[in-house]
Symmetry: C2
Amino acid sequence: MFMNKSNFHHGNLKEEFIKHSFKFIEQNDVDKLTLKVLSDATGTSRSAIYKHFRSKDKLMEAIIISGFNKFDHMLAPILKDKNEPLVDRFYKAGFEYIKFAKTHPNLYRLLFGHKYYKLREDLISINDENCSGFGALKVAVIEGQDAGLLKKESAMTRTILIWSALHGLSSLIIDGFMDIDKDIDTIYEELFNSMLESTLDSKVKIASKLPFIGSLIKHK
Amino acid sequence: MFMNKSNFHHGNLKEEFIKHSFKFIEQNDVDKLTLKVLSDATGTSRSAIYKHFRSKDKLMEAIIISGFNKFDHMLAPILKDKNEPLVDRFYKAGFEYIKFAKTHPNLYRLLFGHKYYKLREDLISINDENCSGFGALKVAVIEGQDAGLLKKESAMTRTILIWSALHGLSSLIIDGFMDIDKDIDTIYEELFNSMLESTLDSKVKIASKLPFIGSLIKHK
DNA sequence: TAAAGAAGTTAACATTGTTTACTTTATTTT
DNA sequence: AAAATAAAGTAAACAATGTTAACTTCTTTA
């Protein structure tokens, strides 16, 4: 006999592959995610996945697209929340950025690593300023420049600079550069202050009202 | 017949493997470096490498160790050159850091990426302040804090912050985040200024005497 | 109800890293 | 110098991985 009836998935197997992939990389390195892992997890054969994705890379791309959605929907609302003072929004966005990387290190590496950068390029240029985290940051940066919070060079320059600082710190944290979690709070505090205009003397006070990364993440 | 005489390497095959690996990743992604590539390049059999390295990972570690030496010997002398003003040393060190990443992107990813972070931890803690780039930066940071050039929180905090900013910008550049090279100069200029004490008003002038990244690398 | 297409399976392939058994060269011992 | 031993190479086979081709079963639709 070739197959028993219960093995037949009807339409949702594609989503199941993605879902299991997400669950897997919450706990394991991305390069440990093999097609065997997924066929075992879904109870299908080794090649079933090819009915839903042209290749493993296409599956990874689907994960990345979905991951960027998750990331963007975490970041953009914080930056656009008009009820909060702008400084607080910046502080919280940076905070949540690093927290995201720390909480989902494998997903973060997948999203911002080198291997699929072509796809990311497409995603970032396709996404308009309303959905993309990068786009939302750029809008907020312009707002911050108008309010005298950020230096008034090109908005793109300032946006990349902020992103780059967050990306750098996040990467060092999740890639094993820093042994002690408790320093992260201090470092982020300083990073945050470095980003703001030097004329602003209220910045430390405003920032320190908000929660800290080390503490928050440790007790999760 | 089993083997002709000319095939026998005498003692230098190990170095040849490393040398060819370096040459290869100058032009290709690290994950394209297979044992077949190396056996073809050295004219040996597929398994000859196992007489010199316990596994492929051990070869990669040798490459990383050698790569860090290269990196450290590029960075440390710049930071320790007492003939240059400290600001210039900082500026040039950051400049050369980014240039290194841009010139050897695959090696840079190997050195600072996630996969072999365990080894890097060992290397950085083993290397003393005299040879390691990180160590040299920390020494320079203390000097900079004493001179009123950098903020006077913990030296480790400030060092990590600088490193993280350079790492973040370098990563964004080599991982395809930025389409236009000419903006890199401006961004580095701003990054550099953000790092210095806000009371220092000579910083832009001092910095702009020095060469720019985009231009320098483009005509290489 | 028959045909067609979607969604599975099985079996085979090439590529990769790796191991084992063997051979050749170099070195050391007697 | 001859013999023994170690070092450095080869060939052949493995398991794991991504992938493809040929086949089967379920679902839909004309």
